[in-house]
């Protein structure tokens, strides 16, 4: 067990070099405004902090240390060069309100990135400001709403969402004031077009779709879906979380989408950071251009200028105080420049190759595919319902046991419609050797399930903690350390 940093605190200890050596006296702030007792923050030395967090870090799985085939999350190598470039002193020091005279270098990067993303998605314009995929979704749906509202088409109160959609899709629609209606998936993994036909109508504001979907298949009916929704007066939203699968191969704009968000922290290899920051730029077709969120960058000759509420009066406005996650955008830009034109489609090709290879090999090893007739995209689903039923070893047990073999588990129990599923996304940056080792681990666990199920159900056995009690966590809430709560 590792102590909390708070538990290492001793009154009066400090990392002295990290604050002004003299304490300025404050004479002109009246008592009533002042804090009476210092905040109970840890009192530790610089070395204690360095040692504590260095050691804590070692208790994480990460791309830099393990294969991390988390479906829908695109855990691929985050180039260290992109990190270095984004952390150049000049970039880090730039204040968000610095004048354009002192921002041309930064703005050039943003502008270039906007242009590249436009081309890659086949959209008319791009705004980089959303901070993550979900904020991109919000922006996208808000634009759909602004579009209908401006046209006086105010009866549209519904957004259609396939049942395989990520939870953010319905949640974003609701934040924009819409109701959502779920569209079922057909047995082949594509959206059930008949079901869609039955519900699309004048109340339809739009549909939110990922393609390839989170089921690991490319929806072959996409053009018909687009036609149906457009004919009903609705717009099409593209959830770009799976863009990695089709980068440079097929463009959402060409499929008929009106608005798209991209997860730069997936397809453009910016780090996930243990939960962010991400970046969720949005691209739009012609008719939604006026509504894009601000700020954006425009070029006029050799000069770059900001586009804000003033220049874009019909914009849905800004969604964060400044220009979004600039540092993430710089990383994505650096990555895109290193990939270059040739590199874009290779991302799709090799991530798809890796996924189909694993898909095939796991099936050969006896695992059941959710959609055995289909090609995998950059990810695919297997279901362990047989194992669960026959041996009482469920997907979560399998996942935990994989940790013991040094692999992060694939996504479990998502999408919700496939029982006991594992969504597996190897990404293009993993080599065959690693894939083979993972497949071997799956085989081994499969054998363990048959010979020693308890071993699997008790996993993990080799990590800093054993299986954690989630129920207890939610029932006996302990969300912050409290001196008095300790002995």
């Amino acid at each position: 067990m590792m102590l909390l940093i708070q538990e290492q605190s001793k009154q009066g200890r400090r990392a002295v070099a990290q604050a002004p050596l003299q304490k300025a006296e404050i004479t002109d702030i009246p008592e009533q405004f002042r804090r009476r007792r210092s905040a109970n923050l840890p009192e530790v030395s610089e070395m204690q902090v360095v040692r504590h967090y260095t050691r804590l870090s070692q208790r994480n799985f990460s791309i830099d240390t393990q294969f991390y085939p988390l479906g829908s999350c695109t855990m691929k190598y985050n180039p260290r060069g992109a990190n270095e470039m984004a952390m150049l002193a000049g970039f880090l020091a730039r204040h968000p309100e610095a004048p354009e005279s002192h921002s041309q270098g930064f703005m050039a990067c943003l502008h270039d990135l906007q242009e590249m993303l436009k081309e890659l998605t086949g959209m008319q314009a791009v705004s980089l400001s959303p901070a993550a995929g979900a904020q991109g979704e919000f922006a996208g749906v808000a634009m759909i709403r602004a579009y209908h509202d401006e046209r006086g088409d105010t009866g549209r109160n519904e957004i259609l969402v396939p049942d395989a959609a990520h939870g953010t899709n319905p949640a974003s629609a609701v934040m924009c004031g819409y109701k959502t209606r779920e569209i079922p998936t057909g047995a082949d993994g594509d959206v059930d077009v008949e079901a869609l036909k039955a519900v699309v109508g004048p109340q339809t504001a739009g549909i939110m779709l990922t393609n390839p979907s989170t089921l690991g298949v490319f929806d072959r009916g996409i053009l018909e879906i687009a036609r149906l929704v457009h004919d009903a007066g609705g717009l099409l939203y593209y959830d770009g979380a799976n863009l990695n699968a089709i980068l440079g191969k097929v463009r959402p704009g060409d499929m008929g989408f009106d608005v798209i968000h991209m997860n730069l922290h997936k397809t453009f290899s910016t780090p996930h950071g243990g939960g962010g920051p991400g970046s969720g730029p949005v691209g739009v077709s012609e008719r939604l251009v006026p509504y894009l969120p601000v700020p954006m960058v425009t070029r006029d000759g050799d000069e770059y200028h900001w586009l804000t509420e003033t220049e874009c009066p019909r914009s849905i406005g800004r969604l964060s105080a400044f220009a979004g996650n600039a540092g993430v955008l710089l990383r994505a830009y650096a990555y895109a420049r290193m990939l270059g034109r040739e590199g874009m489609s290779r991302v799709a090709e090799y991530s798809t190759l890796n996924a189909n290879y694993m898909f095939k090999m796991l099936q050969e090893a006896g695992f059941e595919a959710a959609f055995p007739e289909r090609r995998a995209t950059h990810e695919f689903i297997i279901t362990l319902r047989k194992q669960a039923k026959e041996r009482g070893v469920n997907t979560m047990d399998f996942a935990k046991r994989l940790l013991d073999y040094g692999f992060h588990a694939p996504t479990t129990y998502f999408p919700l419609l496939v029982p006991e599923c594992l969504l597996i996304e190897p990404t293009e940056t993993e080599d065959k050797g690693t894939l083979d080792a993972f497949i071997q681990a799956m085989r081994t666990i499969q054998d363990e399930v048959n010979t020693d199920g308890e071993l699997v159900k008790g996993a993990p056995h080799t990590l800093p903690v054993k299986r954690l009690d989630d129920v207890r966590a939610a029932r006996e809430l302990d969300l912050a350390w409290n001196v008095s709560a300790e002995d």
């Binding site: 405004f33 905040a39 208790r59 000049g90 968000p96 934040m175 600039a326 420049r337 095939k360």
Partner: protein
């Protein structure tokens, strides 16, 4: 192939195993007429060297001017240890800690973060971050509306003294849910929200009241009185605070005696570099009683099978991946790495370090204000005490002054005339602990010259009186 490890031999083996002739065959389910044409406008690949030369050139191009800008983003010292540790691969390249046993590093750190934030804010619970301060406010207000069972209205009182972008963002995010933001005027002398401004709403059904501390002008609000008003009127009180300021100012958890219901703000002053406005992180704390209305990730402490302590994501039933359209928010990816930095930052500074930093900012800004006030026509616009920012009235147009200063590589403050035309010619200035005496002197000197040139007022470096 950059970042792709496949050898020709391996590709052949894999294709054979799959049973196809080429990689293209794997895309056969995509309708042929949809397939991409060449990406003409994407430039060819660069090596890491070429890309870094490009980027270094651009970073250099923007110079490193002396920065007296604040307005929601502040130029603080970040201990070198913070980012050297934060960018360790194990933190940098991990995903959201869904597999708790394989993510105890991030999870324990986040629990420590939650503990630090509650200590700093004097609140019961904290989440593990939202996007930024402005969007955190929007989420806080949605939360307040959900949590305020006593209110049927969807009206929220928002002081005009609150950061203009925060007001815009909250408006943009809330407007589709039929929530009305009502503006409270500020006192033209003090720059604060006088309690009198709330009188019109006494006894009305108000879902929430926003209380900034300090406000956009740097001015300290009468937080106790405002919080008291909120409680009396059954409005949820939502504080928006600068976390560094909270090291020396009364924390939201103590305002008006019992504290506010929710507090939020921009975490940037806790270890995030200015970096053109992001990534930063929004923080959000609340009273224990309304934790189930809170958006965002929350980490809880629990036990493992052997009875040992461990940490895990908890209360996930509030979140979009479980509750979908009924979730407390759509947020998924948050600003984890920035919180990693903030946790290390707070651990390194401790309460005393934050207090010293806050005091140094206050002293530097006071010093700057005093020196600037010695110039003819330059004076503080508001009378009330400030934390580390002040609005200064100028004798000439603010944008001209700022442009001229920028030419001297001084970013001399924010022109607020766009957002507050009623305040005339004025700039919002801030001198953090990083501004040196030399920089402050140079600012004052250059401003004197600029004013002289622009306004014909004779250069005045001596104190006006005495």
């Amino acid at each position: 192939m950059p970042f792709i490890p496949h050898t020709d031999q391996e590709v052949r083996e894999m294709l054979e195993a799959i049973g196809v002739d080429g990689i293209e065959d794997l895309f056969e389910e995509i309708p042929a007429d949809l397939r991409c044409v060449e990406l003409k406008s994407i430039p060819p690949a660069m090596s890491e060297l070429e890309a870094s030369q490009l980027m270094a050139g651009r970073a250099r191009q923007d110079g490193q001017p002396a920065c007296f800008l604040g307005g929601g983003a502040y130029d603080h010292h970040i201990p070198a240890a913070v980012w050297q540790i934060t960018t360790r691969g194990e933190f940098y390249s991990a995903y959201t800690p869904y597999q708790a046993e394989a993510s105890q590093g991030t999870l324990q750190l986040l629990y420590e973060f939650q503990s630090m934030m509650t200590a700093l804010m004097g609140m019961d619970v904290s989440n593990a971050s939202l996007y930024d301060g402005a969007s955190a406010l929007a989420e806080a207000l949605l939360m307040a509306v959900r949590a305020n069972r006593k209110s049927k209205s969807r009206r929220i009182l928002v002081p005009r003294s609150l950061h203009p972008s925060y007001r815009k963002v909250a408006g943009n995010i809330l407007k589709n849910q039929g929530i009305e933001l009502v503006e409270l005027p500020f006192d033209p002398e003090g720059g604060h929200t006088d309690i009198g401004a709330l009188e019109p709403y006494d006894g009305e059904d108000i879902a929430a009241l926003v209380i900034p501390q300090p406000n956009y002008f740097g001015v300290l609000e009468d937080v106790d009185a405002l919080t008291g008003w909120g409680r009396r009127n059954k409005a949820m009180t939502v504080a928006v605070v600068n976390p560094l300021a909270m090291s020396i100012l009364s924390p939201p958890g103590e305002w008006g005696g019992e504290g506010v219901d929710i507090c939020c703000g921009e975490g940037q002053p806790l270890g995030a570099p200015l970096s053109s406005g992001g990534p930063y992180f929004g923080f959000l704390c609340c009273r224990q009683g309304i934790v189930r209305q809170m958006p965002g990730r929350i980490i809880g402490r629990t036990l493992d099978q052997d009875g040992n302590r461990g940490f895990t994501l908890t209360l996930q039933a509030r979140e979009q991946h479980i509750r979908r359209s009924k979730a407390t928010s759509n947020i998924c990816t948050n600003q984890g790495l920035m919180v990693t930095a903030a946790t290390i930052h707070m651990a390194l500074l401790g309460a005393e370090g934050l207090e010293r930093t806050a005091a140094a900012c206050h002293a530097n800004t006071s010093d700057l204000v005093a020196r600037l006030s010695s110039l003819t026509g330059v004076s503080p616009r508001f009378s009330r005490p400030v934390f580390h920012e002040r609005l200064m009235s100028l004798p000439v147009a603010a944008d001209d002054v700022l442009r001229a200063l920028a030419a001297h590589n001084i970013l001399g403050g924010l022109d607020i005339s766009g957002d507050y035309p009623e305040l005339g010619r004025a700039i919002l200035i801030c001198a953090t602990e990083k501004r040196t005496v030399g920089e402050i002197e140079s600012f004052v000197e250059k401003l004197a010259r600029v004013i002289e040139l622009q306004g014909g007022v004779p250069c005045q470096l001596q104190p006006k009186e005495s």
